[in-house]
């Protein structure tokens, strides 16, 4: 009898089968994920979760009898029946014994996706625009790879095959006598009658044995170790600028919309780049770089000068994020207010300083819930940006006023497109 402890074996043996299953059910799972994210908050989306998919396409049909026909049932637990009793059939087949296994197939199939699987599906058909700039260098990641053999190393890394091969080559080259040869001579020696011949054999055996001793079976110089080298891996990195107007005209609702958009963008970027930094810039008539908490929570009052934020961003890019090394993404959220005098400055800054260095610039105009902006004149900022866009600048703009619109808008902005067609409204 053997007792084997398998607990330390890799578990998740079914992982591959599970992935095959998800691949197979991909379209269904994707639809299910979309449905179930509709009602969720963004932090929850990160958690993964349960989805249910219809069984079409992942069913495993078998030939079996359906309902109908004459049936016999043998059951335990009789209490009051005697032979010949007629029991009325329950309507709708309910309560009829031994129903299990009948019927054609189950209707739906519920299961839990892990966070990774969920996000994979969730962001599956989205793509970052302009991923060209991937040259990048932050060497935060080192990986180990095989690099041939070495004559020194730790005993754990002995390359047995290689060692034995070299030992064998050396033994052959130095003509180490084979044990069989010596044995053979011994046998001959035992059988031999002739005294002289015996002497000769004795000498020969002694010589061979001495040689075998001199030339060891494995010599320390034969030993080889597997060599490993660590090689730095370059990792493409990205920085994401979040620009937001925090002047008095921005309500909590608008900030919430903006926050949702930023979070989606962040999740999305972290899946494409190993290294993502975020810079929060808030502005009233002055812009400042703040931490996340301040960005979303602490109120500020003042007028509105959008150009100040763009100026701050330009400065930070120049100081810290060389456009050659970083993929720069920016998302700006605002209610659209800007002082008229600032319009021209903003436009010029954006066109000359910001757009040339960013991969992607999105402007999100947030509004109050249930506000219908159709028919209203465009906001000052919107008209400035619209003009730039018409000029052919790469700039994405959307208006959002309800929570539910965030994901569709996001999805639209990053939809996978063919060829060179750019993201534009």
């Amino acid at each position: 009898m053997h007792i084997v402890d398998r607990r330390l074996n890799p578990s998740s043996k079914s992982l591959e089968n599970r992935q095959r299953f998800l691949r197979r059910a991909k379209a269904l799972v994707r639809r299910a994920v979309r449905d179930c994210t509709r009602g969720r908050d963004i932090p929850d989306i990160l958690e993964g979760g349960e989805v249910s998919v219809p069984l079409d396409g992942v069913d495993e049909p078998r030939l079996h009898r359906g309902s109908g026909g004459i049936r016999d049932h043998v059951l335990p637990g009789n209490k009051e029946f005697v032979e010949g009793d007629i029991l009325p059939r329950a309507s709708g087949r309910k309560g009829k014994p031994r129903d299990a296994g009948e019927g054609d197939a189950e209707d739906a199939f519920r299961f839990v996706l892990t966070r990774e699987e969920f996000l994979d599906v969730f962001l599956d058909d989205l793509e970052l625009p302009d991923l060209a700039k991937r040259r990048l260098t932050a060497t935060e990641h080192e990986s180990v790879r095989r690099a041939g053999y070495a004559v020194s190393g730790s005993p754990a890394n002995i390359a047995v095959n290689r060692t034995m091969r070299i030992a064998m080559a050396r033994r052959i080259a130095l003509r180490r006598p084979r044990p069989q040869a010596i044995e053979q001579l011994y046998a001959e020696f035992d059988e031999c009658e002739d005294e002289e011949r015996r002497e000769a054999l004795k000498v020969q055996i002694a010589a061979l044995e001495a040689k075998a001793r001199r030339i060891p079976y494995i010599d320390p110089i034969d030993i080889r170790y597997r060599r490993f080298e660590s090689s730095p891996k370059t990792v493409a990195q990205a920085v994401m600028f979040c620009l937001m107007d925090v002047s008095g005209s921005m309500s909590e609702h608008m900030k919430d919309l903006a926050k949702r958009f930023y979070m989606l963008l962040y999740i999305f970027l972290t899946r494409r780049y190993r290294h993502v930094e975020i810079v929060f810039i808030r502005h009233t008539e002055r812009a400042e770089e703040v931490d996340e908490e301040t960005f979303f929570r602490s109120p500020a009052t003042g007028g509105t000068l959008v150009s100040s934020a763009l100026e701050a961003m330009r400065r930070i890019v120049a100081e810290r994020y060389r456009p050659q090394d970083w993929n720069i993404y920016a998302a700006q959220a605002s209610d659209g207010d800007n002082s008229y005098a600032d319009g021209a400055v903003t436009g010029r800054l954006l066109k000359d300083a910001i757009l040339p260095v960013t991969q992607f610039f999105a402007y999100l105009e947030v509004g109050e819930a249930n506000e219908h902006r159709t028919g209203m004149p465009d906001s000052p900022l919107w008209s400035v940006y619209e003009r730039l866009r018409v000029e052919g600048q790469q700039l994405s703009m959307r208006k959002v006023s309800n929570r539910g619109e965030i994901f569709p808008v996001f999805h639209e902005l990053f939809q996978r497109r063919r060829g060179q067609e750019r993201v534009a409204p």
Binding site: H2, E16, N17, R65, D72, E83, I86, P88, E102, R110
Partner: protein
């Protein structure tokens, strides 16, 4: 050490490997000397809950080829388990030599003892001695064969693409329940031999491959009329109820690797075929054996009273049989029925009453319960076992009755027999028939195909009691069958009188599945 007391084998719920060893030895002593069991060598593997889930998904086998459906089952089990809707089995045991039993690490020492007695001795003995397992499974070769199958399928995926392999396996799985030989053939299944043969075939083909042969014109083949229908059917071995076997041998457009895949699926189905036929006996045997061993261990002082109560508690849970009107009822519990019958037989052998002598003259009062039981374990399957040994007393005890549901009878369902003098034999016959897989599975046979004509494959389902196939599933399976066959397929549901009740037809989705 039969009567002298042995010390406690363990104390408290904790266990370690030396405890397992001690427990195993104590169990083995009882199993061999008192129960006279004959065993494959045992291998006991300790695993985690997650590994248990993995094992579930691959039908308990330690290694298996990859297919999405196993992932689906895994996902299903996992969801149920995580929600707490379903616990995990305490053990899984594999019919192989050595016989592998999985123990969960969460079990207490008592549970481990129970599981060792149940799986490593009860099931083990049954696997080794029951005639069905002897006939149909190759315990020595199965793991090696599965290893070969896994490797072969992986290589196929590399060579022919995962999609083509998946499609073939899907189709084969759909027909799996009709991929077994129900009657023994000439030779015993030898999986090792099979694996070697496939390798040789490959090598031979590669060796004799010569492209020139393709260009040599062949003579005109015999026309259809030259072969009479009878001759044609004889040549193809029709009628054939093993559909997978038929496809493997005769499907015109399958590649050789696809035939090999069908063969693998067929072998796996065949390997599990005896298990489906011996659920009640297998579990009954194992439960009876663990009950005997545990009781004996307790008598010998190896298990403390408290731990024995823990055992009794889980034992009674296992052999609980809810009545038909209980919300928990889902058919007969094979553990309950099997265990009750084994105990009943023990009673008949050792302390029979008048009724038993009348019903079971050959075993009543013969005295040696273990010998009788071992004999039964070797030579019966569920159907014959119940048909022979379900006693009137047990029917009364379990209050078994028989309902006859005829749609023609509009008033309702008739109680055809109850546990009384008039009903015993009928109940027993009906229950035995429920356990007959030949009866429970629809009987479908390949009856004809015109290989020289339109190559349409014709199958018949012999309808019993007017019960037709479930339509949606039948259509899907037929679609798979048509894909493998590459030509039209027709399934007729035929009554005993020869009247055709229903026809299903399917055409291959893509004529070039074989060439995919």
């Amino acid at each position: 050490m039969t009567d002298s007391s042995i010390g406690y084998l363990y104390q408290g719920p904790d266990w370690d490997f030396s405890v397992l060893q001690r427990v195993y030895e104590a169990c083995e002593h009882i199993a061999r000397s008192e129960l006279g069991l004959e065993l494959y060598p045992n291998q006991i593997e300790v695993i985690t809950a997650e590994q248990m889930l993995d094992a579930y998904a691959s039908i308990g086998m330690p290694l298996f080829y990859k297919h999405w459906s196993f992932g689906k089952h895994f996902t299903q089990h996992e969801a149920l388990y995580r929600k707490g809707l379903r616990g995990l089995a305490y053990e899984i045991v594999i019919n192989s030599s050595p016989c592998i039993s999985y123990l969960m690490e969460e079990n207490t020492a008592t549970m481990q003892t129970l599981v060792i007695a149940h799986a490593a001795f009860g099931h083990n003995h049954f696997f080794k001695n029951n005639y069905l397992f002897k006939l149909w499974t190759d315990a020595e070769g199965i793991l090696e064969y599965l290893n070969f199958a896994k490797g072969y399928i992986t290589r196929c995926e590399e060579k022919h693409g995962p999609v083509a392999v998946e499609r073939t396996l899907d189709a084969a799985h759909a027909l799996m329940s009709h991929g077994v030989h129900r009657y023994p053939g000439k030779k015993k299944l030898d999986l090792r031999e099979d694996e070697r043969r496939e390798r040789d075939r490959r090598a031979h083909e590669e060796r004799i491959f010569n492209d020139l042969w393709r260009t040599v014109p062949t003579g005109r083949s015999k026309s259809a009329s030259e072969l009479s229908i009878g001759r044609r059917r004889a040549l193809l071995g029709l009628p054939q109820e093993n559909i997978l076997y038929f496809l493997e041998k005769s499907a015109p457009r399958l590649e050789s690797w696809q035939r090999e895949l069908l063969r693998i699926v067929r072998h796996v189905a065949q390997y599990f075929y005896p298990q489906a036929q011996t659920k009640v006996m297998n579990e009954g045997t194992a439960t009876y054996v663990h009950y005997r061993i545990m009781t004996r261990l307790h008598e010998l002082g190896g298990i403390s009273d408290g731990d024995f109560l823990e055992f009794l508690q889980s034992h009674t849970n296992v052999v609980f049989q809810p009545a038909f009107d209980d919300p928990r009822f889902s058919g007969f519990n094979p553990y309950a029925l099997g265990f009750a019958m084994m105990q009943d037989i023990e009673r008949i052998v050792t302390a029979p009453d008048e009724e038993d002598r009348e019903w079971f003259p050959d075993i009543a009062g013969s005295g040696d319960a273990m010998m009788t039981l071992r004999e039964i374990w070797s030579n019966y399957r569920d159907e014959s076992f119940i048909g022979q040994y379900l006693s009137p007393r047990l029917m009364r005890q379990m209050r078994i009755f028989h309902l006859h549901d005829d749609p023609a009878e509009t008033d309702g369902v008739r109680v055809a027999a109850i546990h009384n003098e008039r009903g015993y034999r009928r109940i027993r016959r009906e229950l035995a028939r429920e356990y007959d897989v030949g009866w429970a599975d629809p009987n479908i046979e390949v009856v004809d195909v015109d290989l020289a004509g339109d190559r349409r494959l014709i199958l018949h389902h012999s309808v019993v009691n007017g019960s037709l196939l479930a339509e949606t599933d039948a259509k899907r399976v037929l679609q798979h069958l048509a894909d493998l066959w590459s030509y039209d397929v027709l399934l007729r549901e035929v009554e005993g009188s020869g009247k055709v009740l229903k026809e299903h037809a399917a055409s291959p989705r893509k004529p070039a599945l074989a060439a995919a």
